[in-house]
Structure formats: C-alpha cells, structure tokens
C-alpha cells in the first residue's frame, strides 16, 4: 500500500495530532501544569491553524481511500475558515472552562470539541456516504455531551436531551433517505450516484432527496427542522452555543453544497432546486418572525442564526462557482459576526449572569466597549455597509442572481425584504444598549477577562477588516473557479 496518499489528509492528521497532544497533556501532566491546559490548547491549535494556512492552500485536487476522501485548496480553505472560528471559540471558552464548576472536566471539553471538528472535516471531504455518515455522527454525538456540560443545571440537561433525541431522529430520517439512494444507484459513491440516477426523476428519488435534505436541515436548522434550535441554544453553555451556531452550521452548509452538486447535480432543476427554494423562503421568513419576539439573547441569536442559515442556502441554490465562493465568504463573515455577538453575551453572562435583552438597557453607559463590539456584530449580521456582513450578503445575492432564472430573482427579492425585517430586531439590541434608559438593575461596569477580550478583538477586527479589504472574496472566488466542482 502506498502510504503517501495519507499526505492528502494533512489537515485531518494535523488535527489528530493536536487532539492527541491535548489528550496527553491533560492526562499525564502534573496537577500544577493542568492550569495551563487552556492556554496550551489555544496555542497548539493556533499553531496548527497557522500551519494549515501556510501549507494546505497550495496543493491541487487529491483523492484517497479509493475516492472516498477528496481534498482541494477550496476545501482546505473552508477547513481553515472553520479552524479560525474554532480558535476564537477556544479562546473565548477559557474563562468559562476554568470556572470552579467546570475545571475538573476542562480537558474533556477541549477533546470533545476537537473530536467534533474532526467529524466536520470528514463531512466536508467525504465523497462516499459511508464516510459522510461517520463524519456526521462524530460531529453530532460529542456535541450532545458538550451541550450537557453545565452538569449541575437543569436547562443544560433538557437542552442536551432535546438535542440528542432530535439528532438521533434526524439521523434515522437521513439514513432512510440514503437507503433509497442506494436502492436507486447501487452505490454510495457520489460519482456513482451522479451517473446512476436518471434525469427523469422518480417518486423514490424525490422521497430520498426530501429525507436527505431533512437530515441536513437538522444540522443547519432549516425550517421546519429547526424547532430544537432555540431550546438547545438557550440551555447549552454559551460557548457551546456559539460553536453550534457557527462551526457546526458552516461545515454542514459546505458539506451539503458538495453533496448536492456532486451526487445530485443532474436533478438540480427538476427536483431539489424547488425543495431548497421552499426551505429557504420558510427558513428566512420564519426565523425572522420568531426572532422578533425573543427577549432572551441566546434564543434571539438562535432564531437569527436560523434565518442566517437561509441566506447561506442561497449560495447552494445558485449552483455556480460564485455561489460556492460567496457561501464560503458568508461563513467566514458569519464566524466573526456571530462569535463577536456570542463573545459579548458570554462575557456578560460570566460576569453578571444576565442574558435578557432588557438587562442590556443602558449598557453603553457602563460598558461602552462591549456595547460597541455588540453593535458592530449586530450591524454586520444585519448587513449594514461598510461592515463585513453587507458584503457577504451582497456577494451571496450576486451569486444567486447569476443563476439567472426568474424564480431566483423572486427568491432574492424575498430575501431582501427579509433583511429589512431582520434589521428591526438587530437594531432592537442596539437600541437597548444605546438609547433605552436603565430600569433600575443596570449591569455594573466590569472588566472582562483577558481571553474574552482577545476573542472579541479578533472578531471585531474580522468584521471591520473584511468590510474594508476586498481581496479575501476575490481569492476565494479564484479558488472556487480553479478547483470548482461544477
């Protein structure tokens, strides 16, 4: 056997090494040194991320394990984007992980997180449904444990159980769909499926695709498969929520793109374009309508992330290289924007234990820096120029428009109207912080921990920088055109 083909899996192997290093450090280091676990993890992971940026963007297409696994610079790029997000989450989690309550299982948290990231890598790179399912499960199941990490809190348990049950159910539906696919194609390789399914759709294919989309809809929290989102986001530790909302969602979106194009690309216009079309409209609209009513910040961001998922799906329905590049760019921007928002929420929660929007009244007067960071995050999520969010929305609409059909124009129009609705609730937060007067129980000024500030600085820098510097999108577009899958 030629072991050199393992070299294609550089990123997975690197991640595995990080995982092992953290595991060994946590297991065998003397008790005194354990206080450094968080720093150790962050530093090692940061080095790994930097190395990935240096080494993995220059290769070309590579497949291994008889074509079950594939990678290309575009795929390396999305993994790098996820790495950046994960790194910010790791940094932001330091304070929480070292709190008295969590300190005993600090190491496990990092290991579980890295394990899920590994699963996501596999989902992205899989070219065979078997590998994909392995990735999917190893990305989902440890997350259930992470959701339950606030062991002594009732809500955390509830959230974990809800997450686990829905995950199991969705996996079942997904597998059901896969079995139909296997029945149709006789193989689980994407390429085989692509060749085997006829362009004349059958009832079984429609059912299979509906179930596959439903299974992925769970991970992406597309409406109507999103109902778990709010409860889980609210109950889970805030760090886990931010990880769920950004990294998990981003990887699933890209994996879905690859799967839909490479396995089911031929029946795009006959079948799944319309399914996705309906799901996008539902997701954006319903997510917005629910987000308007939320008073709990975490639930609020849960529904906001539901509607953001709808926008991300526009990159898939575009079915072209621009769509793929704008989807990656959207995820990149979304990583920074959402993590900035969650960073602020978690800083406030860690210091004062408050998560309601009403508690944020008058925050600007007591904690101006946090308020400004939150404001930038909200502006970016709402898509106000010149912040990054505006450009990501702009590019994703551009990609969709390039697909060219009238129906897509209508879809983009609906999405545009929805951005106006979303502006309302994002600005509610800004209004609370800057305009509303405090109602007696204002959050006292506090100095957030060093790690929290670092995480926020990175996120805010990302929001501002991506808004000003345009070369990121251009290089992503170039990657997607050169190493495209269309």
């Amino acid at each position: 056997m030629d072991y050199s083909q393992f070299l294609a899996m550089k990123q997975e192997i690197g991640l595995l090494i990080v995982f092992l290093l953290v595991f060994l450090y946590d297991t065998f280091m003397p008790k005194k040194a354990l206080n450094g676990t968080s720093v150790f993890t962050c530093v090692v992971f940061a080095i790994y991320t930097a190395l990935c940026f240096c080494c993995c963007m220059t290769d070309t297409w590579a497949t291994t394990f008889s074509g079950m696994y594939a990678t290309s610079p575009a795929i390396a790029a999305i993994k790098n984007i996820l790495n950046v997000g994960a790194l910010i989450v790791l940094i932001q989690s330091c304070k929480w992980a070292n709190s008295d309550e969590q300190v005993v299982r600090r190491g496990e948290f990092y290991e579980l997180l890295l394990a899920t990231l590994f699963g996501m890598y596999l989902m992205i790179s899989a070219r065979h449904f078997l590998l994909f399912v392995i990735g999917l499960e190893s990305a989902s199941l440890p997350l259930a444990a992470m959701v339950a990490f606030n062991k002594n809190r009732y809500e955390s348990h509830e959230a974990s159980i809800k997450y686990l049950l829905t995950a199991v159910f969705s996996s079942a539906v997904f597998m059901m769909g896969l079995s139909f696919v296997y029945a149709l194609a006789g193989s689980l390789y994407y390429t085989d499926i692509y060749c085997a399914i006829s362009t004349q759709p059958s009832a079984m294919l429609v059912l299979a695709l509906a179930f596959v989309l439903a299974g992925m809809g769970f991970k992406l929290s597309l409406v109507p498969f999103h109902l778990w989102t709010a409860d889980v986001y609210q109950g889970a530790p805030t760090v886990v929520t931010s990880y769920l909302s950004v990294i998990s969602k981003g990887s699933a979106a890209f994996a879905l793109l690859v799967m839909m194009v490479q396995a089911f690309g031929l029946v795009y216009s006959q079948v799944w374009e319309w399914m996705l079309y309906a799901l996008i409209i539902l997701t954006i609209t319903v997510g917005n309508l629910f987000a308007m009513r939320q008073r709990n910040m975490k639930r609020f961001l849960a529904f906001s992330s539901v509607s953001q998922a709808g926008y991300i799906m526009l990159g898939i329905i575009a079915m072209n290289a621009t769509g793929m590049a704008s989807l990656m760019y959207y995820i990149l921007v979304y990583v920074f924007s959402n993590l900035a928002a969650f960073g602020v929420i978690s800083a406030i929660e860690n210091n004062c234990g408050k998560v309601d929007m009403d508690d944020y009244n008058g925050l600007y007067r007591t904690n101006p820096r946090l308020s400004v960071a939150m404001m930038l995050a909200m502006f970016s999520l709402a898509g106000i120029p010149p912040f990054a969010g505006f450009f990501s929305k702009f590019f994703i609409f551009t990609g969709a428009i390039q697909q060219g059909s009238t129906a897509i124009y209508v879809l983009v129009l609906i999405a545009l109207i929805n951005t106006i609705i979303s502006l309302y609730y994002y600005l509610l937060v800004v209004k609370a912080m800057f305009i509303n007067t405090e109602n007696g129980c204002v959050i006292a000024p506090f100095k957030s921990a060093c790690s929290e500030r670092l995480g926020l600085w990175i996120s805010v820098a990302g929001i501002l920088l991506l808004g000003i510097v345009s070369c990121f999108y251009n290089s992503l577009l170039e990657l997607c055109q050169t190493y495209g899958i269309f």
Partner: protein, 694 residues
C-alpha cells in the same frame, strides 16, 4: 522642479490640522497658536520659493523659448480609478479610463494665488495669536480648535488653487466651504453665529449644485477633467501622459467654437455648462443674487473674515472663471452673463455699503463690490481690437487686470479687516456709533486703516489705483456703458470707505468710559497691520502684465516697474477725479459732527431704507423659502410621506408582527411536537415536490 516642495506645501497645513485637531486638547492653548503659526510660516517660505522659481528661474518647464509662461503639472496621482485603462497587447495604454486625480498644477495664476493665500494666512495666524485672547492675554476657549480650522482652511484653499483637474478643484472647493462653515460657527454657543454658518453653507452648497452639474456636462462632452486639456495650453516636459494630444485639443475647440455641441433651450450646452459652473463661482464669490450669506458670515471671528471672507475663499469664484478662461472666451455669451452679474452686483453692494452701521458689514459689502469688479474685468476681456475711444486694447488686458486686482485687493482688504478687528477688540462693539474719534488713541490702527482706505479708493500710488485703473481701461475697451457704470461705482467706493474712515476716527471726540482707555493692540496684532499696509503701498508696482496673462504671453511693452508708463492716462485721470470727489464728499459730510447726513437721510428716506435693509433680499429669500417652498411644496410632500409612505410601511410592520404572534405556538418546547413537525415537514416537502415534478 522637485515635487517634494509642492507636496510639503499641501502636507504641512494638513498635518498641522490633524495635530492640532487630535492632540490640541493635550497641549497648552498658547502652544497651539505657536505651532499653527510656525507651520504656516514654513508653508509661506515654501510657497514663496515655488512662486519665485516659477516666475524668475527661467526653467524651460515654466517658460518657453519665446518667453511665454507655461502650465506645468508637477505631480498628478490617481486617487480613484473608476474604470480601468484600456491596454493593448504591447502594454501601451490605448485609452485612459475614468479616474479622479489629485495633483499640483503650477502656472502663473496658481503661483500668484500661492503667494496671496500663504501671505494672508500667515498674517492672520500671527494676528489671531493676539486677537483670540481677552484683555488680560488669556487665550479664549477653543483656541486650539480655531488654529486647527485655520490650518484646514489653508490646506483646502491651497489644494483648490493648485488643482490639476476640475474634479479636484470641486473636492477642495467643498472642503473650503466646510472649513468656512466651521469657522463662521466658531462661537457655536451664539445662535446668530450658528444660523450664519448654516446660511453660508446652504447658499454656497446650493450654488455648488450648479457647479457640479456644470462639471458633469462639461466633462461629458469634452471627455476630460484636466485643466491642461480643457484650456489647451501645451504642457512641456515632465509627463507625456498628461500632455495634450492634438486630437483632444481639436475636439474641445470644435465643440466650443464651431458649435458642434447640441443646443438646449436655444443655447449651446457648452454655454449652459459654463454658466452653471459660473453659478458655483457666484455662490462662493457672493455675487447677486447668491450674496446673502457673506454679510452674515461676519459673525465669525474677525481674523476669519479677513482670511476667508475678504481675501481668499471669496475670490475662488473669480479664480474659477480665470482658470477656465479660454473656454469662456470661446463662448462669449457666457462672458456677457459674467459681466452683467458682476456690474449689477458691484453697484448694488456699493450702495448698500453706504448705509450700514456695523463696520464689518460695510467691509463685507465692499468686498462683494470689489469682487464684482474682478468679475466684470474678466467679463469684458476679448481678443485684441480697438476700443471706443480709438485706442488699441492689449490682448486679454481685463484678465490681467482682474488677477491684479485680486492680488492687491487681498492685501488691502485683509488690512482693513484686521484693522477693524483691532478696533472691535479695543471697543468691544461692531458699530461705528460706539467708536468715533479714535485716531488719537490708536495711531497705528488709524494710519494703517487710512492706507487701506486710500488703496481701495484708488488713489495714486497705492495698490488699488493701478489695478482699478487697468480694470476700467479694460471696460472702456469693451463697452462705454459698462465703463461709465464701473467708474461711478469706483467713486461710490471711495465715498463709502471714507465715510467709514471718518465715522470711526473723526466725527467727534471719543468718550472714554471709566478706566478703560482704548489703545493699540499687542505686537502680534499690529505687526501684520504694518506689513500689510506696506504691501498695499507698493503692490501696485508689481509688473503683472509681465507675469500673469491669460495665455502666458506677456502684454507688450510691460517691463519691471513699468506700470506707470503703461497707464492709460485718460482713464487714470477720470478714475482719480471720481475717487477724489468721493473722498471730498465723505469728508464734507462726516469729518465733523454735523446735521448733513441726517438731512440727506430724511430727504431720501426710501433710498436709505432700501440700502440699509440691503434691498430686502433676505426678506425676499425668507418669503420664497418659507411661504412658497416650505408651505406650498414641502408640506404636501411631508403629508404624503407621513401618511401614505409611512402608513404603507407601518401596515407592513403591523402585518409582520401579527404573523409573528400567530405562529408563536409552533415553538411549544415539547420534543414530541418537534419530532412530529420534523417528520411532517419532510413528508410534505416530498409530497408537494412529487405533485409538482412528476
């Protein structure tokens, strides 16, 4: 020429602005004044060197073998590239894309303006160090801010005059407007200052709308922003890229001269473009009917009035017309409009100046009138021909005269304003009624003010005599009617200036109130007065005909110190007589306290009222804006906006909100329900798709 020096001329004031604006709070107030003044001093030296190099170095970049002065583009960098350049296979640029450039254009008028701006600005900086303090020498609040604004203004004005293209000029034009706004409203706690700054900004901004449209029309038809191409003066050396191709020059000439451009409402669109551009100039230079902001702008600190509203910014309109003069020369109907607007404004402002009480207002209207002189002078300029009196007129004499007057006027008007500032600082009031008979108390101010008055009245050998004489000669060369008209205005000028002079320094003995005896101001304030007075005495001998002409070609026979030989003595004697008559009348009426002015006022009550109320222009504007625009136009639109548009939007919002309430129940919190919805969702999706697709 090295391009470092021009860069520094622009960079130093900008840097000073940033330094004082951002870090001013952390330095002592006096320190800010010292920094601002010394930075301006350096800029002054650099500008003098630049201007000297341009005029006298004999560098082939600046002067051709035949002795013609040339336009030199010192540097020109792309600031915004809108459309890319088209490049052929060999890498050569075939066609330039649309780009906005920032650069430094050196020619005779921009070199002259560099001298004017930096001189006046430096004097004003120096003067402000004394003026912006109270009687105990303590700096006023906002001292640093004041100097920061002054630097910003100097930067913008310098950028304006050295613009290589009309768009750069427009950018700096707006910057100048903005810094003028900031400086007029410097005392932002005073409501009158705030409303004056708003008025100035809105009126000039309105005029700039015309300017912008004019720029767009002009560049659309000519295909270029660059002055060198628009005015088709050959550029030598330096950048071949900016050199005018014969084709471009021919194209511009053809659409202007041979009326290849389409017609709009009976006039060529190029005439429209020039008139619209001139409208921008009318706003900045306070030509009627857009003059209403300038008298109110006197609410700003007096040094600001001297710098911005007398010497530099307000002549930007004249400068604009001069800059585009070759184009105007090809569309003489536009020049006729310039003449009429200028002549009417000159008479109007001179009449109003006779009936004002506030000394700064008198000076403000005098400024309007003098700028109108420059406009008229540009307007009557034609290519060589013989005039009505049978004398041959020098080619482009009016252009030279206008620039000459711009130069001399800047000096003596700044002098008068700074003198007025010294008076106001000493007395604490703007009205001459509070002054009277100050000559003994403030000798330096008195003598310098007198020199300023003599200069503006046009008495030989002070600066104003020469420039005004050239203007009148140019007028006689074009049309006798306008020449007589302008001569009368010149007489009126002498009258109102000496009316002001006698009412301030003579009329009756000054009543000293209590301990406070008015006296001359500290050296920081008197020194600029003395320097400017000295310049006003000798500026008339600068051989402008040799230095500044519309096409760079010296006016025949002009040498150094030959202004006296060149005078058209017929005109000079007439204008001198008229000026002396004006002064004598003023002397008779105002030298000693007497009932003559009161008698005259009651004899012509209407005229006095109209002049005193500035012919009710402000009231007219109030009527038009409030009664017609606000009530008849804006209110219905506001109603439509509030009820129809907002109503529609509100109903969308209400609907969205209702919907949101209606589907609230979906999120029950029960996992069983969630799973049901999930499964149903997947099945419905499948079934609906099947129904549609199969």
């Amino acid at each position: 020429m090295e391009s470092t020096m021009p860069v520094l001329i622009l960079a130093i004031p900008l840097f000073t602005f940033l330094l004082l604006g951002l870090l001013g709070k952390f330095m002592q107030r006096g320190m800010a004044g010292v920094i601002g003044t010394s930075a301006m001093g350096i800029t002054l030296v650099l500008s003098y060197i630049t201007a000297f190099t341009y005029f006298f170095s004999g560098n082939p970049l600046f002067i051709s073998a035949g002795g013609d002065r040339l336009q030199a583009v010192i540097f020109n960098t792309v600031w915004l590239q809108f459309t890319p350049d088209q490049i052929d296979a060999a890498g050569q640029i075939v066609k330039h894309g649309l780009a906005i450039k920032l650069g430094f254009l050196l020619d005779s008028i921009s070199a002259m303006m560099l001298v004017v701006i930096t001189t006046i600005s430096f004097m004003v900086h120096l003067y402000s160090n004394g003026y912006m303090r109270d009687h105990h020498g303590v700096c006023e609040k906002g001292f640093q801010r004041f100097f920061a604004y002054l630097s910003l203004f100097s930067f913008s004005m310098l950028g304006l005059v050295v613009a290589t293209n009309i768009f750069q000029m427009y950018i700096f034009w707006e910057l100048v407007g903005a810094s003028s706004y900031l400086l007029i409203g410097f005392y932002y706690t005073k409501p009158s200052a705030v409303s004056a700054s708003k008025k100035a900004f809105i009126v000039t901004r309105f005029a700039d709308l015309g300017f912008l449209i004019g720029i767009l029309i002009l560049s659309y038809y000519t295909g270029t922003f660059n002055f060198t191409e628009l005015t088709s003066v050959p550029v030598e050396g330096l950048n071949d890229v900016y050199a005018v191709s014969a084709g471009t020059a021919e194209h511009i000439r053809s659409i202007f001269a041979d009326s290849k451009a389409p017609l709009f409402m009976g006039a060529s669109v190029m005439t429209w473009a020039l008139v619209l551009i001139f409208m921008g100039g009318m706003g900045k230079s306070a030509m009627m009917p857009l003059h209403i902001w300038l008298p109110d702008a006197m609410e700003g600190p007096t040094p600001v009035s001297a710098l911005i509203h007398a010497a530099t910014m307000v002549v930007a309109g004249v400068y604009l017309v001069a800059r585009l003069f070759p184009l105007f020369l090809m569309q003489t109907s536009a020049l006729d409009i310039v003449t009429v607007v200028g002549a009417v404004t000159a008479l109007y402002a001179a009449m109003v100046a006779c009936a004002q009480i506030d000394i700064k207002r008198v000076l403000a209207f005098s400024t309007i009138s003098q700028i109108a002189f420059m406009m008229v002078s540009l307007g009557v300029t034609r290519i060589a021909h013989t005039d009505a009196l049978g004398h041959e007129v020098h080619e482009g004499l009016g252009y030279m005269a206008s620039m000459f007057h711009l130069f001399t006027h800047a000096m003596f008007k700044a002098l008068l304003f700074l003198g007025a500032g010294a008076l106001i600082h000493a007395i604490g009031s703007n009205d001459y009624t509070a002054m009277h008979g100050l000559r003994k108390y403030m000798p330096v101010t008195h003598w310098t003010f007198l020199i300023g008055c003599l200069a503006i009245a046009g008495i030989i050998p002070f600066a104003g005599f020469f420039s005004k004489d050239e203007i009148l000669t140019a007028c006689f060369g074009h049309s006798t009617v306008w020449a007589i008209w302008m001569t009368l205005v010149a007489g009126l000028t002498a009258f109102y200036m000496f009316r002001l002079y006698f009412l301030i320094f003579w009329w009756k003995e000054h009543k000293v109130h209590g301990e406070h005896v008015p006296h001359d101001q500290p050296w920081t304030m008197t020194l600029p007065l003395i320097i400017l007075a000295a310049i006003s005495c000798v500026a008339g001998f600068v051989p402008f005909g040799n230095l500044v002409t519309w096409n760079g070609h010296p006016i025949t026979g002009a040498g150094f110190f030959t202004n006296l030989d060149n005078l058209n003595w017929n005109v000079a004697v007439i204008s001198l007589c008229v000026a002396i008559i004006g002064i004598l009348v003023a002397m008779k009426m105002y030298r000693k306290e007497n009932p003559l002015p009161e008698k005259m006022r009651s004899a012509l009550p209407r005229l006095w009222d109209w002049c005193h109320h500035r012919f009710y222009w402000d009231e007219l504007y109030m009527f038009i804006t409030h009664k017609i625009i606000f009530d008849r136009v804006c209110k219905p639109i506001a109603w439509f906006d509030r009820h129809v548009i907002d109503g529609t939007m509100d109903s969308f919002a209400t609907m969205t909100n209702r919907l949101s309430v209606a589907i609230k129940g979906l999120q029950s919190g029960r996992i069983q329900n969630y799973v049901w919805v999930y499964l149903l969702g997947a099945l419905v999706l499948a079934v609906v798709t099947m129904l549609c697709v199969l």
